[in-house]
Symmetry: C6
Subunit: 75 residues, 6 copies
Amino acid sequence: MSEIWLSSLKTDSPQEGFELAILLSRRGVKYTQPDKEVLQKLRPEYANNADSLTAASQVVAINFQTVAAANNYWK
Amino acid sequence: MSEIWLSSLKTDSPQEGFELAILLSRRGVKYTQPDKEVLQKLRPEYANNADSLTAASQVVAINFQTVAAANNYWK
Amino acid sequence: MSEIWLSSLKTDSPQEGFELAILLSRRGVKYTQPDKEVLQKLRPEYANNADSLTAASQVVAINFQTVAAANNYWK
Amino acid sequence: MSEIWLSSLKTDSPQEGFELAILLSRRGVKYTQPDKEVLQKLRPEYANNADSLTAASQVVAINFQTVAAANNYWK
Amino acid sequence: MSEIWLSSLKTDSPQEGFELAILLSRRGVKYTQPDKEVLQKLRPEYANNADSLTAASQVVAINFQTVAAANNYWK
Amino acid sequence: MSEIWLSSLKTDSPQEGFELAILLSRRGVKYTQPDKEVLQKLRPEYANNADSLTAASQVVAINFQTVAAANNYWK
């Protein structure tokens, strides 16, 4: 993967930071399963399952901790 | 999602911070499954399952760590 | 939920801090499932399941990290 | 639970800190299921299951983070 | 394992840091299951399962917290 | 367990720190299930299961956070 997709953890606002946390979470998946078609096929499976959604939200929460710290919590 | 829903991690009290952590947890879900009807349909599934509730509480706990740090623990 | 249940993360001792972590963990559940009767009904289900108890203990551990940091580890 | 079981997070060594983390993990379980007989009965169930043991080790790891920070990593 | 595979947590960019987090996550697996053939055989199993991918992404997120802190968040 | 197995969190390199994190993860299991024969018997069960390996890697990641902090990230 030579494409540049993450050059900084700095964002202008907490909300953009949260969206960066989502990006990080998706990239974590993509490094394991790079095939977009497979990912597309799996989507309905977890997007319609409450526990899968909670698990996805947890990964976002962990990445958001990192992004928030990197931005000194936008203080 | 152009709507502004998170402009600051600062809250007036720990309790409001905890409620913000809940909002963050729900937003983490909503970015993956934006369809409100689907979310509504999934609700009874996890709201009546002990393990699902524990998992939801865990995501809140992780987000609360972030919010608490952002507020210097309301010291 | 207009009731005030969390006005401070400060506690007099680590043990009280641990008990506050338990309260936070339960509140995390309660915001998702506010119906006390349902919660009561679910109790035997997870209180008699080893993995559910471990999961509950994990949420407490995460919340205890927050409470301990807020109290500067009672140093 | 009026018994005092946690008066300090300070320990003399990392190993004692690790053992305190185990105590915290067990207490997290005990607050949810205080009945010793039930806990005894559940023991073989998870002590002979690889995933349950990994989950238990994870709770210890989280609590050890707290204890280690409280002891400034025994530096 | 006498091979040197991790001499520093420092990376030039957040993206390289994320890739190091992925390496750490894989190494965590490899210490438990060093047999490459077995790992190869298990790959399709989790690379085509949404919950397995989320779990993998979560380990990356946790390791990324460590790498990011080690790099002072590339500030 | 009177044996001394953890006298310091300090290591000479990140890699040794990672190996210490693995030791901590295994010890977390061993305190719950001290019987080596049982542990040996459980090994194939999780060493050949992708999700079990991911879970094991997660515990290592959490312990590595602690070890890395204790070593000031080997800066």
